[in-house]
Amino acid sequence: DQQVKQNSPSLSVQEGRISILNCDYTNSMFDYFLWYKKYPAEGPTFLISISSIKDKNEDGRFTVFLNKSAKHLSLHIVPSQPGDSAVYFCAALGFGNEKLTFGTGTRLTIIP
């Protein structure tokens, strides 16, 4: 099941710079997208979401961009902080569904 793909398994970014995490999806029925952050031995923590009727949503240091025609979304973190080091999951919901479909995750490491 490759409906949600995160092609970069890992990413390293200098503290204070921008982190950009990418996600692609194939199912046109997805209409709500979420980013989660996960530390070891903890559950996924909700970060930010975006509905398919929007192309951008911002919350503090986190911004999610959605390009529906490309079936692509990205998460921008500015400025990156050491506490942002974690695994980030992209997830998608289809209209009328309750099942979240997750990507494989990207491990973000912030270098002090």
């Binding site: 099941d1 979420l34 989660y36 903890e42 559950g43 923590t45 009328g96 569904n97 099942k99 990507g103």
Partner: protein
């Protein structure tokens, strides 16, 4: 901040035994979910529950699985006769409504021997 709590954090069980995983969802949430993550694989949806019944389930959620809300606060996942391949992290989640962010607990690591 309200959170989803799961117990136990780690469960070790012999193959063929029944196991019950417990969750306390966030109190004003109406939708409840179970997911699992086998080591090295994606987080996979198992089941969603609303208004005291299953509202959606995956093909993984076969007859050996069941869910229950036995009282006003707990939400349980029962695996009737465990298999080696049931070894995984099991996450409970809840949301206020459909198409709202799902909030996850820290998971129960289930190890089948």
């Amino acid at each position: 901040e309200p959170e989803v709590t799961q117990t136990p954090s780690h469960q070790v069980t012999q193959m063929g035994q029944e196991v019950i995983l417990r969750c306390v969802p966030i109190s004003n949430h109406l939708y409840f979910y179970w997911y699992r993550q086998i080591l090295g694989q994606k987080v996979e949806f198992l089941v969603s529950f609303y208004n005291n019944e299953i509202s959606e389930k995956s093909e993984i959620f076969d007859d050996q699985f069941s869910v229950e809300r036995p009282d006003g606060s707990n939400f349980t996942l029962k695996i009737r006769s465990t298999k080696l391949e049931d070894s995984a992290m099991y996450f409970c989640a809840s949301s206020e409504w459909r198409n709202q962010p799902q909030h996850f607990g820290d998971g129960t690591r289930l190890s089948i021997l």
